[in-house]
Symmetry: C3
Subunit: 459 residues, 3 copies
């Protein structure tokens, strides 16, 4: 099978860039012996060279951004692992490892085609990237880079769910879920918004995925954790018991890695370097929103609970990041601070609300990704410098944003609810009581996370 590989032909590259790429043709890092003598430059040849450099530059930018988005996987893994108990740590990390790996393969085989191919409800072209043009239409980005960037996004959507359903979900059930969300559900939503589908046509704006990625992952986690039921010992005799995370420094590192990776997620979504103003504004807004979210979450939890809790502060930063993901390219830095600040309040209240309604979400996936995915998407309608309500743009965009993000959230809850229900009826969603008490590391994987350490296994 050929996927139209083109590495041997550099038709666009000329003159000055030739020396460099010649290496690629000869194989490996060694030195080329021969250099073609450059013809005298003309306006035409310079224009072509610049065009090729632009494609190279934008492709490099998107590739670097994709690396950073990939690295978020480590962030998710460490946050999720750190916030749960030691006895289930290998389990969540295996899920984390496998969801990215399976998402990569699925997104190559079918996901990309479903998301970016022509079609109305769902795309239907580009399986295995066959017949996709070398440079993605409307961009200066080589298809390999565009795929890599989008595949990493797909992996992020998949992995969000692991945290919400942690400490009790069967491993084979998780593998099944992950194939379905990355091959089908995420690409369908992506098609609607970024693939030219009905929401794109309505003018729905989601710059880097508050809805596409985070609301999708967050609300899938919501319905999943409801269908799973709470962890043993979480709600006993009408009381909610806090189950402390086993490794807060690891979780903290994870949040920093996520914040770092978000600088690929959001600025990379420009898909172009241009004159740099776009990617730079997005990076600054992303940073300010995260900072504001951390500060307000700390203040709110301090007021409500009496102490500045670190876990909540970290979730506040993540809330700010999720919330700014949709609007990051459309709003001012000052608005970004406000958006993140509100995100930090939402996440604290969201955590309390979930405990109140007895939905057991061990790492806060629903408040962070679901609720703030909604909030960030709606915030575009309020703060957009062109069409936002607060900038005199009227309520049209706001309406579209509310409609779009609600439709997606409901679609996710319905479709993933069906999926989880079907899994529950067949291979089963939840491990047995004994295994849950003893820990899934032993039960599912036959290993333990911290051999040699003395650890109390609780409930």
């Amino acid at each position: 099978m050929t996927t139209g590989i083109r590495i041997r032909t550099f038709g666009r590259t000329r003159a000055v860039v030739l020396a460099g790429v010649v290496l690629l043709l000869l194989g490996g890092q060694g030195f080329a012996d021969v250099e073609e003598p450059a013809a005298p430059a003309t306006v035409q040849s310079l224009s072509e060279t610049i065009q090729s450099m632009n494609i190279g530059l934008d492709t490099m930018w998107v590739t670097i951004a994709a690396m950073l988005v990939f690295f978020m996987q480590a962030g998710f893994g460490m946050v999720e692992a750190g916030f749960i108990r030691a006895k289930n740590t290998c389990n969540i990390l295996t899920k984390n490892f496998l969801d990215y790996s399976l998402a990569s393969l699925m997104f190559f085989l079918v996901g990309y085609a479903f998301m970016f191919g022509d079609g109305s409800f769902i795309g239907r072209e580009g399986f295995c990237l066959l017949h996709v043009p070398d440079v993605i239409a409307g961009t200066n980005v080589q298809k390999w880079a565009f795929w890599f960037f989008q595949a990493a996004f797909c992996g992020a959507a998949a992995t969000i769910v692991a945290g919400g359903m942690a400490e009790r979900m069967k491993f084979p059930a998780y593998l099944m879920y992950t194939v379905i969300i990355s091959a089908l559900v995420y690409p369908i939503i992506g098609h609607w918004i970024w693939g030219g589908g009905w929401l794109a046509k309505l003018g729905f704006k989601d710059f880097a995925g508050s809805t596409v990625v985070h609301a999708t992952g967050g609300w899938a986690a919501f319905i999943g954790t409801i269908l799973l039921g709470p962890r043993l010992g979480k709600y006993v005799n009408g009381k909610t018991k806090a189950i402390a995370g086993h490794n807060i420094p690891l979780a903290c590192l994870g949040v920093f890695i996520l914040w770092f990776g978000w600088f690929g997620f959001n600025p990379g979504s420009t898909l172009a370097v241009g004159d740099g103003s776009g990617l730079a504004l997005v990076a600054m807004n992303t940073n300010l929103s995260a900072a504001a979210g951390a500060v307000t979450a700390m203040i709110v939890v301090w007021i409500l609970m009496g102490k500045p809790d670190l876990s909540m502060t970290m979730n506040g930063a993540l809330a700010g990041l999720v919330a700014i993901t949709a609007p990051c390219a459309f709003v001012t830095p000052s608005a970004s601070i406000l958006i993140g600040a509100i995100g930090g309040v939402i996440v604290v209240l969201g955590v309390l609300l979930l405990d109140h309604i007895r939905v057991d979400d061990p790492v806060g996936a629903v408040p962070v990704h679901g609720m703030n995915g909604l909030w960030g998407t709606i915030a575009v309608g309020l703060f957009d410098v062109q069409d936002g309500l607060f900038n005199g743009g009227g309520a049209k965009l706001l309406g579209t944003q509310v409609l779009g993000t609600l439709c997606v959230s409901l679609f996710v809850i319905a479709s993933m609810g069906l999926v989880f229900f079907a899994i529950r009826k067949t291979i089963g969603l939840r491990v047995g009581r004994d295994e849950e008490l003893r820990g899934l590391d032993i039960g599912e994987h036959g290993m333990e996370s911290y051999a040699g350490f003395q650890i109390f296994v609780t409930e």
Copy 2:
């Protein structure tokens, strides 16, 4: 409020880059449907395109560098956490989280204006980046990227202090300190050296901040830890007791992250890609100096203490990194090895000296950042390829360097001494004896770092 947002207008971008940025206008990662037909290229149009690409390229470079500098925050957090006791780990990580977040907000509101605005002792323009031109004068860097890069530096200066004052400082006192250093003290020093102030006018050279960032943070930690007093049990009956760090692998990871992030800190300070020689030399010098510092620190501690201690080796690498920060663009690779090697010796002797004079600096912030900040700045006067003493440049530059770094260090000690003294007299600097014994995680934050693990709480 508007901060002069310009994302909708790409006046400079033309012809070939248009396709890419058009996306930005239409919102999100989806595809643009329309492409303006490119007019035939002329020398004039190509020249403008190249100018725009250059701005894009330099802005992208500085933005990527800023991401790396941000990531150093994770490195600082893990080093500081790993080198202290488990019972105070959440506390230092919360400080780490909040100092970066507050520094980001402060540097947006006032810090940037104090540092880079016109003015003599302190800048007075550019609050919230209002009226700052799109592209920073004298560079090809968009203001958003320049701000992000500088804000991350500000956060680094603030966080250095957390380590020196670890395990006993009140959390609210830390928040107060962090607002003052990031909003006022750091920007003033930055203004003197990088904002066109009196040291800049004298010809003082500090390429990436051995003095601006590291001496500032290091000497603030010095005066802070003196005013706090040593940890309980550190100096008992005339004897110094080693208090071992609780998680050396975490600290080691932190050092690697710092080293990695330093490749944004130093090479990014070129603020330009140019023909690449500047950023590449800086990267190489940074790497060689760190390597040399690690090796000499290991050798010296091996000779003095009998074993190749890992903590000291890691601090040796950090010492090399701090020392090369000022001279990295002005010296040869061979000189970089020498500068780092001497840094590695300084850090070991500095740790011993501090214990001798009973200044309790749990993570070595003063020897690493303060002493090597001085050394690196002075090293410019010795090894500068143009004006260094050892390159026949006479003692003029050396004199300026010594004067500048001493003035800054004394200013920091005086101003921050005043700040810490005022905090001590009002809300108090230090937690109570019982809380210190039990650990600040419980006392300040109501949580613990390693739930389930059996840990001996010492002293």
Copy 3:
């Protein structure tokens, strides 16, 4: 000594880039006051500007890639630390720290010259980079960046061995080994393949180092661990005892960091941005192969051992990464999936095989780097889109690949066998029995990794 430093002269840089680099001349991040008025652009001047920008762009790309390769050192450290027992963790991290530092210094002093200088068996020019031209011939990369990239590769080759010989090797012996491999053995092999030596002349293709780096490190670990002998308690009374790693989350983080860093290792080996197609394809192939390796390793271990073991899954991802390193630029994405999938099978069978023949390799360095280094190199001969056996290219390339990788592997086993044997006969390779039981952290370094934690020290 001068190493031909050129930072003061930017002969190639003109017109538009001038503003940016002027900063560099004036020292530090401050603003330049003066800007030379740009002469009117001509085709000639634009052509020179573009040439300079190309050098800048490719140099920046290689420098960023080098940073990522450096960061792999953290990945190696965390994987190796996590997979062994707590009592030997500081020891392996110190080795990890020092091998990179020593490799950096050695590769500056002599390694670069041995690898890339003219010469037949070994290079003989470019010690301390003296007389190396500013821009590396056949590329658009400044020598400083090229050196940094190659030095980071050298460090990677050195550090692979630490894992295989973990938990029993003397620290001074390790320092001696590391100097020899980084100053001599690795550069010789690199010279043969990337420095224009005999394998390069035969047409041997190793894009990013399946053989140069991984087979070298892997087979050095193989002979080293044989000469060391197994850990106490590993093979007792004809039975193999599993010795569990002490911190699987840390190892998992390490694998993610390695995967992340590999995006510098492989795509960076293009040494050029060009039109981006090369680096983007390489990035995508790298990702797919790693994903496939993780999935097949999980499946195979699940079938053979009954549970989806996380350690094996992680080693599967690493196997996929090693295997795709040689062919990543020469094969299609579909072939990359196949190559990685086979790599995942090889690593599981390889671990079992080593236990069968009683070679005690605590972290799986030999199956991951040695066996998959071979496999990846051979895979070029099968799947190369131009000359691969399966693409109708005949068996010529395949023959060259098999010959080349086998010669290198045998050379490594012979030369490093001699080195380890000589070390054993002089200062000794292995710590004493008591020290091994108590742990090398105390014995070699006088410290412990997790002060305060209650840990069972096993065997």
